[in-house]
């Protein structure tokens, strides 16, 4: 009996919470949940490094949406992530990442 009461209380509060979540501005709490699907990168040496480091601050579609940049441009971008935004990537890994980006998402040179 007691269980049922607690259960229905929980249920009621869940329904209430759900109602608030969709009711918009009159309701005090307005919530959404954001979908995120995995971005598949092209296979190649360095892919795992890119998936490890370039996914920390933003999704990998930041990479896949770019046009086919030259080595100079990809180098500039990776350096910006490290120097301007503090991406925790050492020089060796940066080099590997740049090679991968140039080969898979670049002009190839």
């Amino acid at each position: 009996m007691r269980r049922t009461i607690i259960f229905s209380m929980i249920l009621a509060s869940l329904i209430l919470a759900a109602a608030f979540a969709v009711a918009g501005p009159q309701a005090p709490v307005h919530s959404i949940s954001l979908p995120e699907t995995r971005v598949e990168l092209a296979p190649g040496d360095g892919k795992v490094k890119v998936e490890t480091f370039c996914n920390i601050c933003h999704s990998l579609d930041y990479i896949t949406m770019q046009p086919k940049f030259s080595r100079a441009q990809w180098t500039g971008t990776v350096n910006k992530m490290v120097k301007v935004f503090g991406a925790p990537i050492n020089e060796e890994d940066s080099k590997m990442i740049i090679d991968y980006l140039v080969a898979q998402y670049g002009a190839g040179n």
């Binding site: 501005p25 709490v29 954001l34 995995r38 920390i56 999704s59 579609d61 770019q66 503090g86």
Partner: protein, 396 residues
């Protein structure tokens, strides 16, 4: 069946999100716009996904056939990945302070006590059209869908600032919102305006878009509206307005969102600017919305070419249209005028005489003579795009 630039994996993933549609077995037309993937985010309709985290979504062009862009179709652009997904209006406050007589902490009810001001304005990302620049530039690869025309309503920023009382010697006013950086090394997204700009008549702290509350992804519960200026200043989920006795030094004004300090905001393609200034007013633009490149037109059958035009806060004086790749031009008829911040629709009757390929072009000029270039004006961040567009259509 396979579209360029899309792997089978991408297709399967997209299809998964649209099971209902794929059940019919055909490639659902809504899922792609210009061969780009579409997803439906909360409170939004199917929009073109640039990035998922932080969310950046582009509006398919056909929405611009309407004078007003629906809330669910308006583009989305966040900078740093911890964006607000839940707002409790019991807790949310708009804090106003810094170099002021008083500190304020306004609830939504307080905000609604100020005189309510409303107008229609173009909201456009600084990088709208970035993907068209040559040479290419890094950043969000927007086509033309990082904009919309929305009726905003809210309180005047000036009224709020006056209630707090700006102290003499104030220089800038900064604006911070609910979004947070993923790592401490990534600068928080904070913007600023010079104090004189902030005190102009028309700047709003808006809490309504098109008569409704705004979707969370577009800045619920309130966002800054700086009509005529690029949307980088229109801070979403606004929480802090700070009056500063000196120039604001934050990254997103001092380092990012800058244009070359030249008359056109441009420099020779591929070069680096000597001096830069913060981006500000929008350039003048016109777009051809209908017919689109996919249109099936017939010789001797009349059609109406339709488009939109707007500028950075000055009304559109004229739109001229060419159907012969710029050889000859004629004036288009302008539609309903919803004020100098709104876009205006234009219409141009056309009857192609013979079958063949036609290049349509449109060029807008505003009331102070600002117009559009025939060749793209380049800058390293890919801002201010307003080259005269060319739409190629086939007539059979």
């Amino acid at each position: 069946m396979m579209r360029r630039g899309f792997s089978r994996r991408d297709f399967l993933k997209t299809a998964g999100a649209f099971t209902a549609m794929t059940a019919i077995g055909e490639f659902p037309a809504e899922v792609f716009a210009d061969e780009r993937k579409m997803v439906r985010f909360p409170e939004k309709t199917d929009l073109i996904v640039l990035t998922q985290r932080p969310v950046q979504l582009e509006t398919p062009l056909h929405y611009f056939k309407e004078l007003i862009t629906p809330n669910k179709a308006l583009f989305v652009r966040w900078h740093i990945s911890q964006l607000p997904t839940s707002v409790d209006l019991n807790l949310w406050r708009l804090r106003v302070g810094g170099n002021t007589e008083k500190e304020l902490a306004l609830s939504m009810d307080d905000l609604k006590q100020f005189e309510k001001v409303s107008y229609t304005a173009v909201i456009q990302c600084s990088g709208n059209g970035r993907s068209f620049f040559e040479p290419w530039v890094a950043g969000g690869q927007w086509k033309n869908g990082a904009m919309g025309n929305v009726t905003f309503a809210g309180a005047r920023l000036r009224d709020i600032l006056n209630k707090a009382g700006i102290k003499a010697g104030s220089v800038d006013v900064s604006f911070d919102g609910l979004d947070r950086a993923p790592l401490p090394s990534v600068p928080d997204f904070v913007k600023s305006l010079p104090v004189d700009k902030a005190l102009e008549d028309d700047i709003l702290v808006a809490y309504e878009m098109n008569g409704e509350y705004m979707p969370l992804l577009n800045g619920f519960p309130a966002r800054l509206v700086v009509p005529g200026w690029y949307a980088t200043y229109w801070v979403k989920g606004l929480t802090d307005i700070t009056v500063l006795p000196k120039q604001f030094e934050g990254f997103w004004v001092k380092t990012a969102y800058r244009i070359p300090d030249t008359a056109c905001g441009c420099i020779p393609p591929g070069s680096a600017p000597k001096k830069t200034i913060p981006i500000n007013r929008m350039t003048t633009r016109s777009l051809i919305i209908d017919p689109s490149v996919q249109a099936q037109l017939k010789a001797k059958k009349p059609v109406e070419i339709m488009g939109i035009a707007f500028s950075g806060g000055y009304s559109i004086r004229e739109v001229i249209v060419s159907v012969d790749k710029g050889k000859t031009w004629k004036e288009a008829r302008l539609g309903q005028d919803k004020g100098r911040y709104s876009w205006i629709q234009w219409f141009f009757p056309w009857k192609p005489d013979t079958p063949g390929k036609y290049t349509l072009m449109a060029r807008a000029t505003n009331s102070i003579g600002e117009s559009q270039p025939f060749e793209s004006l380049w800058n390293p961040a890919g801002y201010l795009w307003n080259k005269i567009e060319k739409v190629e259509v086939m007539v059979t």
